[in-house]
Amino acid sequence: MRLMSILMLSAALFSIGIYGVLVRRNAVLVLMSIELMLNAVNINLIGFGTWLRDTAFVNAQAFVLFVIAIAAAEVGIGIAIVLAIYRNKASIAVDEVDSMKW
């Protein structure tokens, strides 16, 4: 197995995430797409860690743990925001949430 295939997998997943973030209207689906992108980053980190071995391997894992922790925090906050918006507007379509202008 080559490093390149892992990196390509990661890049592809990240691009899928970008597509999802840009195209999806539902806020929860946007959050999921962001999870895909974070997951791609994790694959990338672990891939490099396995390639470089030794301390890089351990440090990559530590980084991934941080990413996962941040992702968990992000989902928590994200869902709280979605629920708050849903309560106020009875809709969670991101393109209808545009009162933050002017």
């Binding site: 390509m8 592809a12 797409s33 672990i46 891939g47 391997f57």
Partner: protein, 171 residues
């Protein structure tokens, strides 16, 4: 290629196929709960990939945090808001589809180009069974080398917890 390497490539292929398939379905599925379930598929397959790449602790964390908690919270949020069975129209911004596709492909192209130039010549990865001290080394790394980020992340989680609580309250 040795036998073992063949097995590795096959496992990687299966995992990668599941990851990509799940990912594509996450962003294309026309039912929001199904999209979340495809996310589970992607995340679980990623955990499998981590096991293959010798990071078994990360794989377990991936299962526990992502599949066990994050997706459940996502589903919880979905079902609290609106989650009809069957196809839901207008999950996508139709006019943005083409631009999303372009953006994704451009990004993929750029990254592929860069990666190809720098990492195409890297030889096959050597995947030997991890020595038993791997998790101890990880723990040491987290709490010695990365103790400051570790504490910072703890603070982030704490404030996220409080923030989520404050936002989701009714009053």
């Amino acid at each position: 290629m040795s036998n073992q390497q063949v097995v590795q490539v096959i496992i990687f292929g299966i995992a990668a196929a599941l990851i990509i398939f799940g990912g594509i379905r996450v962003v294309t599925a026309q039912n929001i709960v199904r999209a979340a379930l495809y996310l589970v598929l992607t995340l679980a397959a990623t955990a499998g990939l981590f096991v293959l790449l010798l990071a078994e602790f990360i794989a377990a964390v991936q299962i526990l945090i992502y599949v066990g908690a994050v997706v459940v919270i996502l589903l919880f949020g979905i079902m609290l808001t609106r989650a009809p069975i069957g196809l839901t129209p207008d999950l996508d911004n139709e006019s943005a589809r083409i631009w999303g596709l372009v953006a994704g492909l451009v990004f993929l192209g750029v990254v592929t180009f860069v990666l190809w130039r720098h990492f195409a010549s890297v030889p096959a990865l050597e995947l030997s069974a991890p020595d038993s001290g791997a998790n101890e080394a990880l723990g040491r790394s987290l709490l010695v080398d990365w103790v400051a980020p570790f504490e910072a992340v703890s603070m982030v989680l704490l404030s996220a917890l409080i923030g989520a609580l404050a936002m989701a309250r009714k009053d």
